[in-house]
Structures are given as structure tokens and as C-alpha cells.
């Protein structure tokens, strides 16, 4: 691969998150380097999704520090995160069900569009021009993900696998520098998984997008990720390159299991 893994751009330090009395995350630290594919694995309820939610500001940790591109902060704010180049997909697809595929992808460009509602209402000049420009960008994403045929279909009518792909598309439409994927391959068949892997690797390769992903399919994780962090009961129990993690006895006991 041509890509070069760069410096640490996101550094999470001693993150703890509680909901009332429930400890979701306890004292977790790890970092993400530019252009890498970083996986978060662990059993159900380990706090993986909570971790992603902390990274892009949906949840606010009680303790810890987040250093993003050299900027120290206590927590992230969703809007700042989006502006800072974060885009993500969700574990249970969070598409806008009443809208077409095209419109869903267009919302991904929202932050880049500058016209206000009055210009939209009049639809003259700049508003129309802007709409067309961004439509062109969105069509590139549609091409890339091979979903031309369902462009105008309301997403609610699509099968699960395609919805997952559209959700990735919406994230890509924002041209993110960092992509957070929450179980992008859950519930997919082998063929769909292969497609999704290909898309993830292509995005990483062609656009240099940094990717943080949560996934349960160990074959996939070990194959495509550069480094893996392992969580269990809200604590970090392993961190390192796939081979390293695979042989970590604590990780094997908690999650991977032994081979028979």
C-alpha cells in the first residue's frame, strides 16, 4: 500500500464515562495515528460504542482528556467534531428513513453548503449553483459505492446491506479526514462483507482517510486493521498490532477464546 501512516492525531487520555451508577468506560487511553485503520474490539457491552460516542461528542466523559490535532480538550462537541472532519456510521443504522438515498447523501454535505434559507426559498443563482456543485460531489460517492440504481429510492425501502452502504456513503459525502464506523459489517453475508471491506480499504487508500472501526468479525479485523485496541467491561485489556493482540493471553481469555 502506498499510504504512509503518520503522526498521532487523536489521543485519548484516561477517559472515564458513567451513566448514573453504571461505569461504561474506566480510565481508557489510546491513540489514533493519521491514515491508519484502528479497530476497537471486545465482547458485547464492553463499551466500544460508548468509546466512539465519546470520540465524536455524543457522550461527554466525566474524566479524561482528548487531544485532537494538538488541541487539548475535556470533551468533544458533535458540531465541532463534524467540522473537524469526523464522520461516522452507527451500529443500528441511523439513516433518515423518509428521504431518498440521494437526499441522505446530500445531508452529508450540509456543513460545506453556505447558502441560507432565503436563498434556498428563491432558488436563484448561488443556491442553485451550490446545489448542483454538491450534487456532483455526491454523485462521485454514489459511483464509488456502486449505488447508482437506488439513487432515488427512499432508504426505508432498501434491504439492510444496502442501507449500511448508504450510511457509509453519507459519511463519505462529508469528505471526512476521520471516519468512525460502528460495526459496518454486522448482519451482512459474506459477499456484502467483502464489498464493505473493499470500500473501507479503498477509502483509506485513495483518500488517506483515518478510520476507527468497531467490528466483531475477527478475520476481517485482523486482516484490515493496522492496530487494534481491546476493551472488556469498560477497561482496556490490550492494544497493539493484530498479531500482538492475537497472542495476548488476557485478550484470548476475555474475547477471542482458545483454538481447539
Amino acid at each position: 500500500m502506498a499510504r504512509q501512516i503518520g503522526e498521532v492525531i487523536l489521543d485519548l487520555k484516561n477517559i472515564s464515562l458513567r451513566f448514573g451508577g453504571v461505569k461504561a468506560l474506566t480510565d481508557i487511553s489510546f491513540n489514533v495515528r493519521e491514515h491508519e485503520i484502528r479497530a476497537i474490539i471486545g465482547p458485547n457491552g464492553a463499551g466500544k460504542s460508548s468509546m466512539l460516542n465519546v470520540i465524536n461528542g455524543v457522550y461527554h466523559p466525566q474524566e479524561g482528556e482528548i487531544i485532537f490535532r494538538g488541541e487539548h480538550r475535556k470533551d468533544m462537541d458533535t458540531h465541532d467534531a463534524a467540522k473537524g472532519g469526523f464522520a461516522r456510521t452507527f451500529q443500528n443504522i441511523a439513516l433518515f428513513k423518509g428521504m431518498s438515498v440521494l437526499d441522505n447523501l446530500m445531508t452529508g454535505r450540509n456543513l460545506k453548503m453556505k447558502c441560507n434559507f432565503l436563498q434556498h426559498a428563491l432558488w436563484w443563482g448561488s443556491a442553485q449553483k451550490e446545489e448542483l456543485e454538491h450534487r456532483k460531489k455526491v454523485e462521485e460517492v454514489i459511483d464509488f459505492l456502486e449505488i447508482e440504481h437506488i439513487r432515488k429510492t427512499p432508504v426505508g425501502r432498501l434491504p439492510y446491506g444496502l442501507q449500511k452502504r448508504v450510511e457509509l456513503g453519507r459519511a463519505l459525502a462529508a469528505e471526512p479526514s476521520m471516519l468512525l464506523l460502528d460495526e459496518p459489517m454486522a448482519g451482512m453475508n459474506v459477499e456484502e462483507k467483502q464489498d464493505m471491506c473493499r470500500f473501507i480499504l479503498d477509502v483509506n487508500d485513495q483518500f488517506g482517510t483515518t478510520i476507527v472501526l468497531i467490528e466483531h468479525d475477527m478475520g476481517v479485523v485482523m486482516d484490515i486493521s493496522d492496530r487494534v485496541v481491546v476493551l472488556d467491561y469498560g477497561k482496556k485489556i490490550g492494544d497493539g498490532e493484530p498479531d500482538e493482540v492475537k497472542n495476548n493471553p488476557e485478550v484470548i481469555a476475555a474475547y477471542l477464546g482458545t483454538q481447539h
Binding site: 455524543v58 452507527f90 451500529q91 443500528n92
Partner: protein, 304 residues
Amino acid sequence: MQFFLEVLIGGLLSGVMYSLVALGFVLIFKASGVFNFAQGAMVYFAALSLVGVMGKGAPLWLAFILAFGIMTILGIATEKFVLRKMVNQAPISLFMATIGLAFFIEGLAPLLWGNDVRALEIGLVDEPIPYLLDSFNIVVSSFDLTAAGLALALVAGLALFFQFTRVGRALRAVADDHQAALSIGIPLQHIWALVWAVAGFVALVAGMLWGSRNGVQFALTFTALKALPVLILGGFTSVPGAIVGGLIIGASEKLAEIYIPPVMQSMFGGNFGGIEGWFPYVMALLFLLVRPEGLFGEKHIDRV
């Protein structure tokens, strides 16, 4: 001070009546997730049925039973023809459907029983309680007190019913998770019909009390509008919330009606009566800004 106490007590007692209507909302919301806007229309329908049957010569107890029968039929019909067909629709659609239901009932009731204002005699007298009047010089209506007592007894009875009977347990299970309840063999539709019948019963008691006080008339449907701020204050799922909310709304509304208009009059001139109509709403709204889940509601965490 005496006057203040009088207003306060009067407010609290009418607050119990608001609680009673709010309770009907809470029951249905807990069991089926439906915010039943038609509860007020049901109060009207129940009271009209009660006087209607009494007008045919039945004594109160018999009329009460028959009216309860009518409310049960209405509840079962609602479940069968409306709710059952709307399973899996968004809660807000169900809410809008109950607005439709309210209109339907508001048309049906006078069509069946006529739309004259009817007096309802249930044997309670509306006089100041002598003891309080003599000892403390406070006027408290014996009717209000009896009605409040009846309402509280009903609330307590329902609470026991849901806590300690098999049906009550099934109902709480349904409230918690429809599908899980279904999977362990709880007959969902029976439970829903039952809950609507119980809500009909609550509406009947409320309608009887309000109706005997103010006459049975279309204005009874507005009891729903009185109960909504109570729900906001108390939380949609909390029986204690409905009671406490009702008391707070009842008391503050009456106090506001007495004490605020004179202040406004001195500021702007003119007559500012009738703030009862909106005061509870604005109060509930301001409260929401501080505590969106209501007094006793549960804090909700969005999982993504």
C-alpha cells in the same frame, strides 16, 4: 391568611379532580404507549351515559354499572378497530388518531343521549364543612372534600390492583416491553382492552363527580385540557406524578387566578381574569425547561 388558605384548599381539592383525569391518561400511556387525547371526551361520554341511563329510570348504582358497561364496550371497540390496526406506527400518529377518536366520541355522545345540559344528582351536598367554618372560619365545600376523598380512594385502589394482582403484573410487563410480554404468553390485546376499560372507569368516576358539580355538558371534554399540564409536570408514566402534579396545578392555578389579575390590572389597567386557561400550561412549560422528564419521570438516555 384565612382567605389564602381557603383558596389553597379549594385549589388542592380541585387538583385532586385533575389528578383523576390525568390518571386515565397515565394508565393508558403506561400500558400501551398511547397518549390518549380522547380521555376528556371519554369523561363527557361516561357522564352523559350515566345521566342518560338514570333518565330512563335506573337508580344510581345500576346506572353506574350500565355506564361502566358502555365504557367497556367503547374501550374494546377502540382497541379492536383503531389501536390494533396501528401497531408499529409512530407514537405521534397514535396520538393524532386519539384526537380523531375524541372528535368521534364528542359527536357520538350527544347523538345517543342528546346535547342538553343535564343535572346529575348523586346525593352529595355542596355546603361548607361546619367544623372548619366554626373553628377556623374557613369555607371548605363538603362536596369537594368527599369528591377528593373518593378520587384518592380510587387512585389507591388502582395502585394496589396493579401492584398485587396477576392482571396488574401482566399489565406492568406489557408496559415495560410489548414484545417481551407477548413472547411469554401475555395476551396483549386483552390487556389493552382491559386498560381502556379501566380508563373508562376512571373517566366515569371523574365524569360523575364533575358532572354532578357543574352539570353534564360538553364542557366536560375540557377536563382533558386541564389534565395535560398535570401530565407534563408529573411525567407521563407516573401515578404518583399524576397526583402530586394535580395538586400543584390545582393549587397554583387557583392562587394565580386570585392574586395575579389585580397585579396586572394595576400595571396595565383593564380586566385580566381567566388566566386559569393558560397559567398551568405556562407553568408546566417553564418547569419543563428545568426538568424535561417531569417530576417523577425517568431520565432518558439516547443510545446510538
